[in-house]
Symmetry: C2
Subunit: 202 residues, 2 copies
Amino acid sequence: MSNQLQLEALILAMYDKDIIKFGLFTLKSGKESYVYVDLRTTISFPSIYKQVCDILSDYIKDNQLKFDLLLGIPYSALTFASSIGYKDNIPMLLKRKEAKAYGTKKLLEGEYKQGDTCLLIEDVVTTGGSSIESLQVLQEHGIKVTDLVCLVDRQSTAKANLQASNCNLHSMITLTQILEVLRKHGKINDAQYEQAIKVIEQ
Amino acid sequence: MSNQLQLEALILAMYDKDIIKFGLFTLKSGKESYVYVDLRTTISFPSIYKQVCDILSDYIKDNQLKFDLLLGIPYSALTFASSIGYKDNIPMLLKRKEAKAYGTKKLLEGEYKQGDTCLLIEDVVTTGGSSIESLQVLQEHGIKVTDLVCLVDRQSTAKANLQASNCNLHSMITLTQILEVLRKHGKINDAQYEQAIKVIEQ
């Protein structure tokens, strides 16, 4: 299991680099949130990038997830999966983001057999929409998807939506956990914590 | 410097997995070629994938290339760069392939300062067209590009075209080298070698 202290250190490092921010943000859905998470700049900070990849890799091994292939959803999770595949010698698949613009190229790259199981890697899940889209593309190619490992679960509907597609969501960090760590280390006060938690629970 | 035996082993492994093929192929340009190289399935073979990343990483270190940031051109070289960045603790940038389709998202992801130097990684170069497109995007953002490291140089106009943009091309493998290795190991005969070499030199 991922060590709690390791996750706490990662949350603080990400807060320090503005990968995690506290404030009032409006999500794409129109919903408000006090926690902003954007893992796209993770690639700029080698120590944070390494921690993210190692935490995901350790989780996969410690929980003995069973799969034949690894696929990271572009772009952030594609970089994570590439590093995990390199480190742990795992065959990968790659799903392009822009299939329609490149009609002659395959949407799915890499070798697979019918009935293979693919583990999905995602950076942040909210409703799980883009994860389920990838899952469906794999299923259309005869590939099974039973598990998705993500770094951050925003505790919206992703878990239920993935479950409805027979896919287990494994998240390393939740918004609640982020708020707890920020409060514990004096980055936010009790009132800010309570206000932010209330929005998550809505 | 990359060990010649290591490169020879990689060429043979790629030939064995159909990443490199010998036959008569028509390139996008309409030109004919006897050597087909498609690194997109490299992700499916962990041992080959690791060799590719390690050869690129070793070359960068052995030749003491000077740069602040690493950028792999999507998709194959993006996976290679992600693994090299992970392994060697190098900050990375990411250039999306499909900027036009995602108007609200940035074409270039990651942190950089004006005047930073970025090393480009590419899988295969022919004319260098897509490499130069990436180089220009970086320059428009105030980032310098002085070197590009690729796995395979098809020995067309990439070297000259990149040089005209003040960028040095460093290639690990050329088509000539591939043909020599295939002949040495009896994968092709002398007549096939001569015929294929003639087309490269045209």
